[in-house]
């Protein structure tokens, strides 16, 4: 199947050299260094911390990490089940989401459907 152009319109990245297969990250984490970020893992864990380092495999080094775990009644209430002290290494293989701590807010559930029994 012929797909037009190297994926997507506009944008700066030119993927001309597909043979070289460089390990380029689609997310530039260096802009998050020394900033507080929120990370979500497979298995429902969440953590916040200051990003101190990372590698192309998405392993992260976080400082002052706060880890939240989901209890049955937690359901995203973000109880502070803190366990970390200082420095942790987060495995890139289980990271599913990374976002800055500042760039998020809680909103009312937009998916609520009223069910008439």
């Amino acid at each position: 199947m012929a797909s037009g152009g190297g994926g997507g319109s506009g944008g700066a990245g030119k993927m001309a050299d597909k043979e070289k297969k460089k390990k380029e990250s689609i997310l530039d984490l260096s802009k998050y260094i020394d900033k507080t970020i929120r990370v979500k893992f497979q298995g429902g864990r969440e953590a916040s911390g200051v990003l101190k380092g990372f590698d192309p495999l998405l392993n992260l080094v976080l400082d002052g990490t706060i880890e939240y775990m989901r209890d049955p009644d937690d359901q995203y209430k973000l109880t502070e089940d803190t366990r970390q002290l200082g420095l942790v290494v987060c495995r890139g293989t289980s990271v599913v989401l990374i976002c800055p701590q500042d760039g998020m807010e809680a909103i009312p559930n937009p998916f609520i459907q009223q069910q008439d029994g």
Binding site: G43, G53, M69, V88, R91
Partner: protein, 79 residues
């Protein structure tokens, strides 16, 4: 950078948090590229029933597939 940090930890206490509600605390003897880990004097914690499991010795090989976090010098949920 992360591999360096784990490497600095060799010989000291480390606390491993799995994807599931399980945590392992022990002395780090070594690890490989996939972050499979060899630990000694290991205590295994199960988070939900909130009880310590088994204290194992004689070295274990922990499969890196399920590791979520590594905490150098961590003590784990010691209740």
């Amino acid at each position: 950078l992360s591999a360096e940090l784990v490497d600095k930890c060799i010989g000291s206490r480390i606390h491993i948090v799995m994807k599931s509600d399980k945590e392992i605390v022990g002395t780090l003897l070594g690890f490989d590229d996939f972050v499979n880990m060899v630990l000694e004097d290991v205590t295994e914690f199960e988070i939900t029933p909130e009880g310590r499991r088994i204290t194992k010795l004689d070295q274990i090989l922990l499969n890196g597939n399920n590791i979520t976090m590594l905490v150098p010098g961590g003590e784990g949920p010691e209740v």
